[in-house]
């Protein structure tokens, strides 16, 4: 089975976000980056498919040199090959999707795995974009996966339950928390990843279809009312919710 996993490198969840001088992007100074958390489930799923069916695994990330760090993590976890589509310029999801699809289509994989979303912009667009561009079936937000040679039976999360979906290969899967427990890279894996080559190519450029007009800090919220310091405040809280906030 030919398995590809697409991964992203995003600001640490603790990062203090400052707006850049252009008013359209963030100020990157001092920000630590990490592998986008959902993408760990995608890497783990890729490794398990390889363990079950044999074949090869490849991790792809589109971004600047710093994305190598995230690709090394995938290699350390056990992915065999890594490809950096090197491009530091800002791109919208559509253009990332087209560039990824171009590479992926040429490789004719059986399965392409994604995280459910990148936690920077949280667009949740790439799995569907790539699936459509490469002409594959897709299942997003997968929490359970029963893989067979020619088709996968997945459970995807929907509001108030799960949808059981059958998808014919080639298939794009986006992974949600709960699908698996991502493994920790072994020491041997970490050491090995350091010496593994990361292939680099320049992705094709595409016009953006979504333009950022402005980025700003959210309006500061004024601290609320402390209604009381013990259970006796319950009655007053209920009154406020009913009469002032009018939410019950």
């Amino acid at each position: 089975m030919k398995i590809i996993v697409c991964i992203n490198h995003v600001p640490d969840t603790e990062a203090k976000i400052k707006i850049g001088a252009d008013g359209r992007t963030i100020d990157k100074a001092g920000i630590n980056y990490m592998l986008s958390p959902y993408d760990e489930f995608a890497i783990e799923a890729a490794l398990r498919l390889k363990e079950k069916f044999g074949g090869e695994t490849l991790a792809i990330s589109l971004g600047g040199d710093v994305h190598k760090e995230t690709l090394r993590k995938a290699l350390a976890m056990g992915v065999e090959k890594a490809l950096l589509l090197k491009d530091d310029s800002p791109r919208d999801s559509d253009s990332i999707g087209r560039a990824l699809a171009e590479e992926i289509k040429a490789l004719a994989p059986d399965v392409v795995l994604f995280g459910k979303q990148s936690i920077d912009y949280s667009d949740e667009l790439l799995p569907g974009l790539v699936a459509e561009h490469i002409g594959a079936s897709s299942v997003t937000c997968v929490v359970k996966l029963d893989a067979q040679e020619k088709s996968f039976v997945c459970e995807r999360e929907i509001e108030g339950g799960h949808e059981v979906v059958t998808a014919i290969l080639p298939v794009v899967i986006s992974t949600q928390k709960g699908l698996n427990e991502p493994r920790y890279p072994s020491l041997k894996g970490i050491m090995g990843a350091k010496s593994k080559p990361i292939e680099e190519r320049q992705p094709k450029a595409f016009d953006s279809l979504v333009e950022v007009v402005a980025m700003s800090k959210p309006p500061a919220k004024q601290a609320g009312k402390i209604v009381g310091t013990d259970a006796s405040a319950a009655a007053e809280l209920v009154r406020l919710l009913h009469e002032e906030a009018k939410v019950i």
Partner: protein, 324 residues
């Protein structure tokens, strides 16, 4: 140019977001001088389609096929793209629900249309639609413009209003789109419904518990309070990771993003990753025994106290007020 509103239904019942999306389309249509068309896809939907008239859909198109009873990403995308082409739609609105989020990028790729995802506000400036939403876990806001001829927006559920207007004129038309077996390469075959409480992404009231609840055996306090309010139960990642609660209840950056009218955080410290998922709630209440807990900085109302004393008292008071 026309605006297409995708009205999501499941099992012959509209989702609340169907009305929100239709009404948002109506508002945009008024500002931009565009006709609003609602599209309903499913197995047996002609009976309910008319409900959308009250939310501003002048024309309502239905596509019915027994094979569309359950959701299919590939077939639904084909149907909507086909209708968008036939109608020469310039704007397509979908809910940012599990179905809408799955469909939007497929439609984007089919129609060479940019997608502005998970919008919490739409504003018209001249002939442009400017869409805004929080990014970086709510630490920043972004406003975007879609520059392609066809523009797609997904709207975060529970944020846009839906209030019916009686007596609005509307027409329902049945449409057909040819579907081959190959169009169902991904297809749902069944749905496992979690019985009981509403889902956090759809509920208008959420009662969430964190590590301050001390153990899974105490979550009945959260559940009882949620049930009195007809709300959903939410959880912090700490309690989901500990196995006290299922992960589909997790609210936050790596959980669900919610916008209820009332969010009660009980024994939750208010870590940035938690706040990321619930900061767009209309009213936030915190119960925490630590007066310096960060959750109080974003709460509208707070009780600095012990959840084991405050929650039963709150439940009792609510029962009185709500007459239960």
């Amino acid at each position: 140019m026309k605006i297409l509103a995708f009205a999501e239904q499941r099992e012959g019942k509209f989702k609340k977001s169907a009305f929100e999306v239709t009404q948002a389309a109506k508002k945009l249509g008024g500002q931009l001088g565009m006709e609003v068309i609602a599209v309903v896809v499913g197995d047996s939907v002609s009976g309910i389609a008319g409900e959308l008239g009250a939310y501003g859909a002048g024309r309502i198109l239905t596509v019915q096929d027994p094979r569309l009873h359950f959701y299919s990403t590939t077939a639904y995308a084909k149907v909507i793209a086909e209708i968008a082409r036939r109608e020469n739609a310039g704007v397509i609105l979908l809910p940012a629900s599990q179905m809408g989020k799955d469909l939007a990028p497929r439609l984007g790729a089919k129609l060479n249309a940019g997608v502005a995802a998970d919008c919490t506000a739409l504003a018209v400036g001249g002939s442009d639609i400017v869409a805004s939403r929080p990014i970086y876990a709510g630490k920043a806001m972004i406003s975007v413009k879609v520059t392609s001829p066809v523009k797609i927006f997904t709207l975060r559920p529970n944020v846009f209003t839906a209030s019916p207007v009686n007596g609005a004129a509307s027409s329902v038309e049945a449409c057909t789109v040819d579907l081959a077996d190959a169009d169902f390469s991904a297809k749902a075959t069944s749905v496992k419904v979690a019985e009981g409480r509403p889902d956090v992404t759809e509920a208008s009231i959420i009662v969430s518990g964190g590590r301050g609840m001390k153990g899974p055996e105490h979550f009945h306090l959260i559940e009882t309070l949620a049930d009195v309010l007809g709300g959903a139960v939410g959880a912090s990642r700490a309690v989901v990771d500990a196995g006290w609660r299922p992960h589909d209840e997790q609210v936050g950056q790596t959980g669900k993003t919610v916008s209820p009218s009332l969010y009660l955080a009980c024994g939750i410290s208010g870590a940035v990753q938690h706040i990321a998922g619930m900061s767009s709630s209309k009213c936030i209440v915190a119960v925490n025994k630590d007066k310096d807990a960060p959750i109080f900085q974003i709460a509208d109302y707070g009780i600095v106290g012990d959840v084991f004393e405050v929650l039963p008292a709150l439940t009792a008071e609510l029962k009185k007020t709500l007459g239960k």
